[in-house]
């Protein structure tokens, strides 16, 4: 019998295994990879050193010299970081469960209300929020109306929305087929949430946390109004006393802090994002 051999080899092999980059940084050249991590700290260092040299070159009068000392600046900075950190901690504790709650199919009827609450928080100007919280605290006897407590309350109310929204978006964007696969193999609703939905929502949720952090650092510049200190004190004093170096110090440090925290949060986000997605 005849075996008709034709000199062309048909393409019929199963598609070659495609190996896509595991991490966002893979595939970049080593130099660019390093640059990605180094650029922001480098920039911030240049700004701070430049600003330090600028202030050192100024003739400071007594008022300025009294304010711009290391213990005072350090104290303000610590207060600022403290208030921002505490309020971010509480807002995560509040908004992530709320977001999970709002996306459960059986609780969908609460979703508009929850979103509305978050929107309300962010729609009010930050100064207005501080006033509302202050008035609220004045009417509630067990709540102090000045200091860290109302400050944290105001920041939490103001930064709930980004985390809430991102948690909801993060959970909703999970491929419904994965949920069906999970339920189909007999995982309970809670196991599906813990093993599938949450890990896959992590990047989006973390992006929300990052936004909330930056918002909190910005808004914490106003908590001096409660007597909770922070870098806003320097800005306000500099403004009232018409002492530009003081005002600038407060403003530059606030901005630098926000950028630095955003950068660090980005690193954490990358580190916590599950491999494979």
């Amino acid at each position: 019998m005849a075996v008709d051999l034709v000199d062309d080899v048909a393409l019929k092999d199963e598609a070659a295994t495609q190996v896509s980059p595991r991490h966002r940084t893979q595939g970049l050249s080593p130099a660019r990879k390093v640059w990605r991590y180094v650029a922001m700290p480098l920039f911030l260092t240049i700004v701070l050193v430049g600003f330090y040299l600028y202030i050192s070159g100024q003739e400071l009068d007594t008022i300025e010299a009294r304010q711009l000392t290391r213990p005072i600046i350090q104290g303000r900075l610590t207060e600022h970081i403290y208030v921002s950190a505490i309020s971010t901690f509480f807002v995560v504790l509040l908004a992530v469960p709320l977001g999970i709650f709002a996306t459960r199919p059986s609780l969908q009827r609460f979703t508009p209300g929850i979103i509305g609450l978050g929107n309300f928080g962010q729609a009010i100007p930050s100064l207005g929020m501080l006033t509302i919280i202050n008035l609220f605290a004045l009417t509630v006897t067990w709540l102090p109306s000045t200091g860290t407590v109302p400050a944290v309350l105001a920041l939490v109310a103001y930064s709930t929305l980004p985390i809430l929204r991102n948690t909801m978006v993060g959970l909703r964007q999970v491929d419904p087929n994965l949920l069906e696969a999970g339920r189909g193999m007999g995982l309970s609703n809670f196991q599906v949430l813990r093993k599938i939905e949450m890990p896959l929502a992590v990047p989006v949720v973390l992006a929300g946390v990052r936004t909330a952090l930056v918002i909190n650092i910005g808004t914490a510049a106003l908590v001096f109004l409660y007597g909770a200190g922070g870098l806003g004190t320097l800005i306000f004093q500099g403004f009232q006393l018409r002492r530009e170096p003081i005002l600038l110090t407060g403003a530059v440090l606030t901005a630098t802090l926000a950028l630095l925290v955003d950068y660090l949060a980005g690193l954490v986000e990358e580190w916590l994002t599950p491999r494979g997605i």
Binding site: V3, A10, T17, G184, G186, L187, G276
Partner: protein
């Protein structure tokens, strides 16, 4: 409808009905079906006929409005749904591998929930990967996106088999895969099934796939009404009504190519074969002694390597280790004639080499082999129609 012996029923659906609120008619209306142990039952029908809904009621991803599901003699209509699902393997078209977990973690999902220890899980994962033809060393720590579509599908099947369920539900499992890979996966799956003998409910809209995969086929009309429930041969030769005949479409005899497997036909066993380590004079002698125009070279494990033509052998530098044309068309004994024909058409040689499960040479099939089989089938069909006609005439005579 072919009924099934009582003793051998694995899944029994009794008056299973799904009514969605606000819909005038039920999506699935009083389905009764007995599914024998160890068989693949294919639910096939036009889209919207309720086949997927029917299947999903078996593991209660969709809760039936009324009716009963009996699994291996036990009424499971009201038992804990999560525990029920852990006893039933589930494969969906989109596969649904968890992208943030490695292949091993994916397969180990249910064993972990059931609290298996680490050694048992490791052992089971490797065993399953080998069952679906993947090297555990290479694949167990990969992520789903690092696999091709066909490999993902294999892992999906392995995951569904993780706790060795007696029953598996497969919802268009090969639907999203290119035709050539699909055919291979189908054959592979039939090979695996021949060993594991699971009871499988398989949903598809593709009648050819149904004919190939099913031990029995249920052709469904709207609301999951069963038009015919029978083995594929019977559906092709004796469609119960016009709906079934229309659904099978034209070329029912051509479709029967999907019914006959390579192992059932007479192969050419006289092809000249040499071991790659034989010397070249033996090879030349073998080819001369046969009436073939090419010689098949196999390796030490008798796996086909290449076809060598007289011109390839004539050259003084001729070598059995190189030259000629690689053997690219191979099928396993459980492949259907349609698969073989397909391979033949796209291959560089006008024939396919048949190999066993381990890849060793068994024989050669060509267009003549398949033609002979088609002729035999035609004869059968003609006989059937003659028989049917005779019956009609007798019936009239009786009246």
């Amino acid at each position: 409808m072919t009924d099934v012996e009582n003793s051998d029923v694995m899944i029994e659906l009794e008056d299973l009905t799904k009514m969605y609120p606000g819909q005038p008619v039920p999506a699935v209306d009083h389905v009764n079906m007995r599914i024998p142990r160890g068989e693949i039952v294919v639910l096939v029908g036009p889209s919207g006929c309720g086949k997927t809904t029917t299947m999903k009621m078996v593991n209660r991803l969709i809760e039936p409005t009324s009716g009963r599901i009996v699994l291996d003699g036990e009424d499971v209509t009201k038992v804990n749904a999560n525990q029920l699902r852990r006893r039933i393997g589930y494969v969906i078209q989109q596969i649904g591998l968890f992208p943030h977990q490695t292949i091993k973690q994916n397969i180990a999902t249910v064993p972990k929930v059931l609290g298996w220890d680490k050694d048992r899980i490791d052992h089971r994962v490797d065993e399953l990967l080998r069952t679906v033809g993947m090297d555990p060393e290479e694949f167990r720590d990969r992520y789903p996106k690092e696999l091709s579509g066909g490999q993902r599908q294999r892992v999906g099947v392995a995951r569904a088999m993780s706790v060795d369920p007696d029953v598996m539900l497969m919802d268009e499992p090969f639907g999203a895969i290119d035709p050539i890979t699909r055919e291979r996966l189908q054959n592979e799956f039939l090979r695996v099934q021949a060993e594991i003998r699971k009871t499988i409910i398989f949903v598809t809209h593709d009648i050819d796939e149904a004919i190939k995969m099913g031990d029995r086929i249920a052709i469904l009309q709207e609301q999951s009404h069963i038009a015919q429930f029978a083995p594929p041969e019977e559906i092709l030769t004796a469609p119960a009504n016009d709906f079934v005949a229309d659904f099978i479409g034209s070329g029912a005899s051509l479709k029967r190519l999907n019914l006959t497997r390579i192992r059932d036909i007479q192969l050419h066993a006289d092809a000249p074969v040499v071991d790659v380590n034989d010397d070249i004079t033996t090879a030349r002698q073998r080819l001369r002694d046969s009436d073939w125009t090419a010689l098949l070279v196999v390796d030490a494990e008798r796996r086909p390597q290449r076809w060598l033509r007289p011109t390839d052998l004539k050259r003084p530098s001729a070598d059995l280790h190189q030259g000629g044309l690689p053997v690219d068309a191979t099928v396993e004994p459980q492949a259907t004639l349609a698969d073989a024909l397909n391979e033949m058409i796209i291959s560089n040689a006008g024939c396919v080499v048949v190999t066993d499960g381990r890849g060793a040479y068994q024989g050669v099939a060509d267009i003549d082999t398949i033609m002979a089989s088609i002729r035999a089938m035609r004869a059968q069909v003609d006989e059937y129609y003659r028989a049917a006609k005779l019956l009609d005439i007798e019936g009239e005579v009786a009246v």
